[in-house]
């Protein structure tokens, strides 16, 4: 090495420059376009990668130090949680079903985010964003690990979490979050950054990650609250990266504006559709509610994102049109989604229930324009039927939206009594959608979305049975075979909360912890 050393310690700014920009170089054995083949294919024009501003100026050694401190604190609390039977401190065992949805639906996305940012970092020829992506990639794998470790303390005692990764790739409702992330990760590097960094982390995180963590806090789940806190400072960095991507792209070339606007429109809607699961969790699965979905939407989307888009107006970015639809739907989607899971509760890896009369009154007060008129009659009927021994389990498979893969449960934006049907024909085949926006996304990239792995169609094609079973055998039960393939244990993981093993065990164990038996 012939590098001269000055003998003095580097200042933070110098260190940052050496540890990031100083690590990049122009390749000579191969042209740069061959080393970085993907960063031009989306039509994005970058003239000066040096204009990338990293607001955190974090170097890898500092990053390592911060993260290890957070890990030590987190694992001390996880150990205490395990030793003190922390799982018995939650409000009631219904709450644990929100964790089941989280570990099967959200944690695998953290892992995919790790893969996505690692891949994207490799594909960007600018050193600043490459280092930022690298750190986010490591954050994301840390998040999935801490989530698995925390929630494993519930898996020891409760059903439905034993095969979360296997289920994520197979179970019908998990195809919604899975296909969302697969869609992002199979896009080009800049679309991925806008999809996940901006739309997901920046615009929607307060409606996704935060409700689960505040739900945990309200319901006595110290373990989950702690991994939430441990992730929070990372999330702040991710949000800043997401916003920086948008500003960087828009300042580089005016031709980037329509491309970026299209991605923001698309990913806002993709995110809004996926948030249906969170809306349902907030309004129905938390025994102690934090706030209603509608209240969260009003604050975190209409107010905060409204301000954000005003700020972005100077770049020419406008509020996505789909937001008008989302605002009309905010009084409905949580109820429609819970009605769906309740009736398909035999095919879910968590328990479902009808709200109690008090909970229905809470819903009436939070949804004065919709709950009593459209949903209460349905839910009271189901409560009565369940009490009479005629609990509704829908055994016929639903029609799905080709784009978001959610059953066609959404109603017309202006008429909550009519299912919204949209369709188009592409290369001689029909495709169906839940909304104008899912249809537009399909029409813009039909070659991509014609490949959607729709769980219902896959079942009918015979692709969702355990290996070796004979679907032509006289006693073949296709739905039972599908559950086996999902690794959902009938009678333990699925069906009503009322009468479940989880309910009985929790009551018994908590009784032993709080009473003399």
């Amino acid at each position: 090495m012939d590098m001269k050393t000055s003998g003095r310690k580097l200042g933070l700014k110098e260190k940052y420059a050496h540890m990031t920009r100083g690590l990049g170089w122009e390749t000579t054995y191969q042209p740069m376009d061959k080393v970085f083949p993907y960063d031009k294919m989306e039509g994005i024009k970058i003239h000066d990668w040096e204009k990338w501003e990293d607001p955190f100026r974090l170097t890898m050694d500092a990053y390592w130090k911060y993260q290890s401190e957070k890990e030590r604190k987190l694992y001390a609390i996880i150990d205490a949680f395990a030793q003190n039977n922390g799982h018995l401190n939650v409000t009631d065992a219904r709450y644990i079903n929100a964790l089941k949805l989280f570990i099967t639906g959200v944690s695998p996305l953290e892992y995919m985010a790790h893969r996505g940012f690692a891949h994207t970092g490799r594909q960007l020829r600018g050193v600043g964003p490459r280092v930022a992506c690298q750190m986010q990639a490591i954050d994301e794998i840390r998040h999935v690990q801490t989530q698995i470790h925390t929630i494993s303390n519930y898996n020891k005692f409760y059903n439905g979490m034993h095969d979360f990764r296997h289920m994520h790739d197979r179970v019908w409702y998990l195809s919604v979050p899975k296909s969302f992330f697969d869609d992002a990760i199979s896009a080009g590097p800049f679309e991925f950054m806008v999809a996940i960094g901006f739309s997901f982390e920046y615009v929607l995180t307060n409606l996704l990650f935060v409700p689960f963590m505040s739900g945990a806090a309200f319901n006595g789940d110290m373990g989950t609250v702690t991994f939430g806190f441990s992730a929070q400072s990372d999330e702040a960095r991710h949000m800043t990266l997401g916003l920086e991507v948008i500003k960087f792209l828009l300042e580089q070339d005016p031709d980037n504006l329509p491309i970026v606007q299209k991605w923001i429109d698309k990913w806002t809607w993709r995110g809004v559709r996926m948030l249906t699961l969170v809306a349902m969790m907030m309004d129905y699965m938390l025994p102690k509610r934090v706030m209603s979905w509608r209240e969260a939407w009003d604050i975190y989307f209409e107010q905060n994102a409204g301000a954000l888009f005003k700020d972005l107006a100077r770049y020419g970015i406008t509020m996505p049109k789909c937001v008008e639809t989302a605002i009309k739907e905010k009084d409905h989607i949580s109820h429609q989604a819970w009605a769906t899971f309740y009736q398909y509760g035999a095919a879910a890896a968590f328990h479902t229930w009808m709200p109690t009369p008090e909970e229905m009154d809470w819903l009436s007060s939070k949804y004065p324009d919709s709950f009593d008129r459209y949903y209460r009659p349905r839910f009271e009927y189901w409560r009565e039927q369940e009490a009479a021994g005629n609990r509704f389990y829908n055994k016929t498979l639903p029609m799905l939206c080709q784009t978001c893969q959610i059953p066609m449960l959404f109603t017309e934006p202006d008429d909550p009594t009519k299912i919204a049907y949209r369709e188009t024909t592409y290369k001689g085949e029909k495709y169906h959608f839940c909304s104008d926006h899912c249809q537009h996304i399909f029409e813009d990239e039909s070659e991509k979305y014609m490949q959607s792995w729709l769980p219902v169609h896959q079942i009918y094609q015979g692709n969702c049975f355990p290996e070796g079973v004979d679907p032509t055998a006289p006693d073949f039960d296709p739905l039972a075979a599908v559950l086996q393939w999902y690794h959902i244990q009938f009678g333990a993981d699925n069906l009503s909360f009322e009468g479940s093993e989880d309910q009985k065990n929790f009551e018994q164990w908590r009784g032993m912890a709080t009473q003399n038996v």
Binding site: I419, K427, Q451
Partner: protein
């Protein structure tokens, strides 16, 4: 198979070609038919069924729909003579004695029926 050479020289994105996953040839002789019951959102979404194209339309109504929609207290009160049918949202007159194919129903067609006078649990369209 994608080769390393392809990865280094990706074709323009607009030239990308996919393969449709749900062509009728994948359904073992069946075609998909989606069926919804208007004003009855107790069933959260329309249903998807795989049927042979030669299946009689009337057999769908009398042999399949009871299993799918029969839980609803309105179902027993349906007068099929009065039911109004729609295909892709347009008025549609099925011939119960003809096959799905002869009724013009192809793969992934969507039909709905409305049952006048029946408007769900306590008139809530549930």
């Amino acid at each position: 198979m994608t080769t390393t050479a392809d990865l280094r020289n990706p074709p323009p994105m607009q030239d990308y070609q996919g393969q449709a996953k749900d062509g009728v040839e994948h359904f073992h002789g069946n075609q998909l038919l989606y069926v919804g019951w208007e004003d009855h959102l107790l069933f959260c979404a329309p249903f998807a069924f795989p049927f042979p194209p030669a299946m009689r339309f009337g057999d769908v109504v009398s042999h399949v729909l009871p299993g799918a929609f029969g839980y609803h207290p309105d179902f027993a009160n349906i007068d099929w003579q009065q039911a109004q049918w729609f295909k892709s949202g347009q008025t549609f007159q099925p011939d119960f004695d003809k096959s799905l194919a002869d009724n013009g129903l192809g793969h992934k067609d969507v039909i709905r029926f409305r049952t006048p006078g029946l408007t769900g649990i306590r008139g809530s369209c549930s």
